[in-house]
Point group: C2
Chain length 209, copies 2
Amino acid sequence: MSKIPKPVIRRLAVYLRCLSELEEKGIKLVSSKQLASMLHIKDSQVRKDLSYFGNLGHRGIGYDVKGLARKLREVLGLYKIWSVIILGAGNIGRALANHRRLEQNNFKVKAVFDIDKRKIGKQIAPGLIVKNVDELEHFVRQNGVDIAVLAVPADVANELANRLEISGVKGIICFAPTTLSCKIPVEYVDITVFFKTLAHTIVNSSYNI
Amino acid sequence: MSKIPKPVIRRLAVYLRCLSELEEKGIKLVSSKQLASMLHIKDSQVRKDLSYFGNLGHRGIGYDVKGLARKLREVLGLYKIWSVIILGAGNIGRALANHRRLEQNNFKVKAVFDIDKRKIGKQIAPGLIVKNVDELEHFVRQNGVDIAVLAVPADVANELANRLEISGVKGIICFAPTTLSCKIPVEYVDITVFFKTLAHTIVNSSYNI
């Protein structure tokens, strides 16, 4: 199970979003074709991705929406509440602290830290007051933080990642445009990558017009 | 060239970020091994990805940093300035409007739109005053917008996407958790996917401890 390739895991997370939409609408069954069209991919890809978990579908009937969603939540580790902290109370930190979909998906932001005295003590989101980064280690040890988000400049990201690792944080989401040297798992989020990918698609589709 | 798989394109964008870091440090040559270690992937993957563009490396010497960066910018369509607008002046819209790395990468935010009268007319970023979404079509036609970012609630995203397509926008970056029905290229950004992928990695690496 630990050998599932990362692009598959990413798609599982997107399937789960689609399944949640269907669940809300009271839809009970979904075909690989429907899921594929929601993601703009081939239905053979959907069937291949889901085959990692045994035979979840029924030929000619489709997948049970609730059952498949439950399985994907289990695979993605979403059966528990993940305790999250955010480092950096800038625009990205603020957007994440206020991003309701994180909590809806079991990622609960417990604290936001910054080094800037003008930000410390101010409310950044409902129920969240920015803390001094000096309190980081103490907070992590007291509260058992799972995931830390680095929304800080690149030149301080690595040092903070090392402090997080030593304190016992289990994984990092890194918005800083740099590569971290810590041993715990890291997901890098580079927003410009989405723009560059889109630019490439636009350039190449104009060639075809 | 239009057949390059999307995961490869995404990695090209990340290679380019690494190459820019090396360029800034004045480093002239880089091996596939060095690039691979910066991305935490295998060096065979780097060589395979870059082989899409012919023989860019020199066995035993490595890749010419400047030359490879130039080639990747060309492939990704970054030889021009991309004109960008943002729909939605909430926390995500604000973070993007202030994200300096967009402009550094040739994505220039020209305007931000919202429907909320309390936000319209206010400054959201240096030189950017929030405009009324009623002005959308006029602005797009006058200014030749390439890319629009949808940082709006899911229930209005599709209607706005259709308006953007009709106005002549070439592609959309969609932060709304929904699937759009327009025909122009769309890149979906779901921040929770990064959290779910990390959660999966953490759960599976704990199994191995």
